[in-house]
Subunit: 341 residues, 2 copies
Amino acid sequence: MPTIDEIARLARVSPATVSKVLNNRPYVSPTTRARVEQVIAETGFVPSLRARGLSARRSFILGLLIPYRADQFFADPHLLEIMRGIEAEANRHGYHLLLSTARAPREAAGAFSHLLRSDMLDGAILVETLDVQPFAELLRQRPAPWVVIGYAPPGPAPAVHADDFGGALAATRHLLGLGHRRLAVISSTPRPSALDERLRGIRAGLAEAGLTLDSALLVSGDCSLASGEAAAADLLDRPAPPTAIVALNDRMAAGAMRAAIARGLEVPADLSLVGFDDIALASLLSPALTTVRQPGYCLGEAAAATLCGLLGGQAPTTAAVIPTELIVRGSSGPPRAPERG
Amino acid sequence: MPTIDEIARLARVSPATVSKVLNNRPYVSPTTRARVEQVIAETGFVPSLRARGLSARRSFILGLLIPYRADQFFADPHLLEIMRGIEAEANRHGYHLLLSTARAPREAAGAFSHLLRSDMLDGAILVETLDVQPFAELLRQRPAPWVVIGYAPPGPAPAVHADDFGGALAATRHLLGLGHRRLAVISSTPRPSALDERLRGIRAGLAEAGLTLDSALLVSGDCSLASGEAAAADLLDRPAPPTAIVALNDRMAAGAMRAAIARGLEVPADLSLVGFDDIALASLLSPALTTVRQPGYCLGEAAAATLCGLLGGQAPTTAAVIPTELIVRGSSGPPRAPERG
DNA sequence: CTGAAAGCGCTTACAG
DNA sequence: CTGAAAGCGCTTACAG
């Protein structure tokens, strides 16, 4: 691999001039620039990022930090999408992406902290999980800028999150528009911020129609399919079951559908179902599940754009909210006997 | 952040001596070593990988190269698992992981090639896709070692792949052991190497029992759920339908299950079903799908271990094969009326 | 066992 | 507009 010195020799200029050309800096005559550019093109020279990083005091690498516990990591069906979005946008700005799936917080002081101290990252994107606080603490001690994907930035770092509130609002309006009045909700315990927002959006949608969420119709699972099935079973076995159920994620909605079918109910005629996330399973159910899609790719893109802006000297922005999309499929429809408001 | 010079000053030694301590080299007296180590511990000093990379001529970064086309990327349900395995093993050897989801081959000359030339990677792991060849070509021109996850290493690079053959053999033995004799297979066109191996394993299993795969019972989908449904419909509507179907991936198996249920068949009494991969959907079906699990995490681990071995000066190994596991669930059982061989 | 010196391949003031 | 020199923070021979 040629070095900048060889390029300089071939183009009969100094390394400093080659550097100016490489970095698109002024004060190079057009003819000189053309000559250098030609040599670069002929040799296929690409400057060493190792050397560049040392002298320019930047690494051209962004860290994607995903704290997780083994049972959690795969729970997020959008991680790959988020990664793709981040990488595409980072590449546009000349950055590479380093992956660090930091283990549980207790190990945070280990690999993760070491990575940050090793001076290898120009900035970082932290994916919010339940245990994000210790990692945020480590980042706060560093000079490099960082961005959170999720809610509750534990400090002054910008955050990017999906419009869970708006998605829930749209889903609720959709069901109300179909004529439903007895809406039940399958929530989750514990409930991360995103699910809080979804619940808030549902309440707001009901409020628009002059309704409130009957606390008896708010039940909780633990985000798993089985818990959704159990919660729905509870709701459906009551004297006055709901005509529609919104589950705060798709897996619980899939469980609810299973409970409904087991009781001989027809979806959506006897029971409408709406989920959140649009995981692969959603479109494979029969009937396919109406759900609120997570904008994974866009979340990643927006987070990377924000971080690159910070690195470029832009003032920190406030939290960005990425639109969600209501995907209407077969699991939601008008109730068999429309009720009166 | 302190530098090695400051540590040297604090420990009253030369930077060269600090370097020896940092790199666990001999020729440092125990007392000196202890003093330096104490200063390092007190200051929390971590050497700059930027500087270390430049002088030691290595970056401590491994590239994870995933060529993909937009519609392909998410098809592999094990990418996250593979990533986790690679990262865990790489970290054990002091390496970090850089993610490069290189776009379609036509863009390969762009970001991907630039990354390789920028001298940023000590080695690379290439995830096999249909279009892996152009990327392998780029890697071959580099001095850095690399490893393929998948089949058909296009050259002398070591490859690591799952034991698709063995998994298919186990699945076939399982069905034969239950008493099935009329086995059908839903394959795919085009058929990547992994699926070829699976088909080979099925034939081998049948051969053990003195059977051969009836070519009329070998049909093809395109790996999608819908194609599996159509293929199964074709098989089930015949005068003499099979008592068991092996689909070369879970999505097609899920489609086959849908086709069976639509025809009022009972799974597994009327039709046993086996898939491959153990995607999340597999355990969520009713009945849950018997399938051959992909050892994603282990694949990643093995690939990273091989690559780190190469970087440590070990001789190139031949291809490593990672065991697969047959997960028996509710979709497979004895046929209603056991046939005679 | 220890340290002074040179060098990794760039960029950054600075002088011309 | 151009280039000589110093420096980024380490490691690597080499001399002592």
